[in-house]
Symmetry: C2
Subunit: 194 residues, 2 copies
């Protein structure tokens, strides 16, 4: 049967929560064991090492992103609207304080100290995200629904950086509204006729 192991999923989800809260070094198998309601050693049965667990968490995270992005590409005709929905998703995460930060961005901050396999996954996430934004912006620029002042590549890089920075500022200042007000301005700048 292909029924995915339920406990493994719960462990991975808990790992995601904890990483979003504290980063790689800030959580332990003991933390996960407690909240999942399992013993420490049992986690090793599903994920032999902490690196395995975090790599799996990042792979799943990227798969979910790809799935969501693909869904938007298919169901929303207007490219700018797709990006607005992406921002709106994060605005809600920030507001409700549920995983209010991109774990790839968080792990990138700690990057030099992380095991190589995790570094590689983090880099893949950034590459995928920037590439999706770039492609979407390009499509919008082509059909005139998006206005770009610089190359699509630089605009995409800037947008990703702004969104991640906004998450961090919102966390630092304890103010979810800051995320919204920062990203609102960036989205307006993409509007063609002003």
């Amino acid at each position: 049967m292909f029924m995915e192991n339920n406990t493994a999923v719960r462990i991975r989800e808990m790992a995601h929560d904890l990483i979003a809260d504290r980063g790689y070094f800030g959580f332990s198998y003991a933390d996960i064991a407690e909240t999942v309601g399992i013993r420490k050693a049992s986690i090793h049965h599903h994920f032999p090492s902490k690196v395995d667990l975090v790599v799996a968490t990042l792979k799943e995270y990227r798969a979910k992103l790809a799935e969501a992005a693909g869904g938007l590409d298919q169901s929303i005709a207007d490219p700018l609207q797709r990006i607005k929905l992406y921002v709106q998703y994060w605005a809600e995460c920030v507001k409700s304080n549920s995983r209010p930060i991109c774990i790839a961005a968080l792990l990138s901050a700690e990057l030099p100290a992380l095991p190589e396999q995790i570094q590689a996954e983090v880099q893949l996430h950034f590459k995928y995200l920037v590439s999706w934004i770039r492609t979407t912006l390009k499509e919008g620029a082509r059909n005139g629904s998006v206005h770009l002042e610089q190359s699509a590549e630089v605009e995409a890089q800037s947008f990703v950086a702004l969104v991640h920075g906004a998450m961090i500022s919102a966390r630092a200042l304890g103010s979810p509204e800051i995320f919204s007000s920062i990203t609102k301005g960036a989205l307006e700048r993409f509007q063609p006729e002003r």
Copy 2:
């Protein structure tokens, strides 16, 4: 005599290096002891607890920022030029990989897991930085040397977020140039006549 304790300074500087590399949970007194050439226990003589050390490091960091910002305010007439020099400072840090990330931004990522005193220091840093950028942008807007599309507050918040996000993207992608290309665009947008 007011000659500040040399060892304490070296410990603090090393702490800064290590935090910029790995974050709060990623370094230990043992790491510092090794590189400073002192025993672990001796660090406790200067900084009784890890919290004390990190708070002191953040206070010094903020003092240095205030000193540099004040210096720019006095010696550089053009507000936009002051901000350009601020960005240039970071561009060089990123390029040379010496403390290539703002430790307040990095610690903000791990914020929920940090001791309260450290959270407070991180928040103070953000408040000071945003306030300096806001004041500087406002001055530029008043004398016509800076063009703002939104309120100075939102523009300042956005700019700080963009710079921090750019540091993180540069780290994730292992490419210092990304920091420069992202920030270049943001600075151009402040230019009044285009």
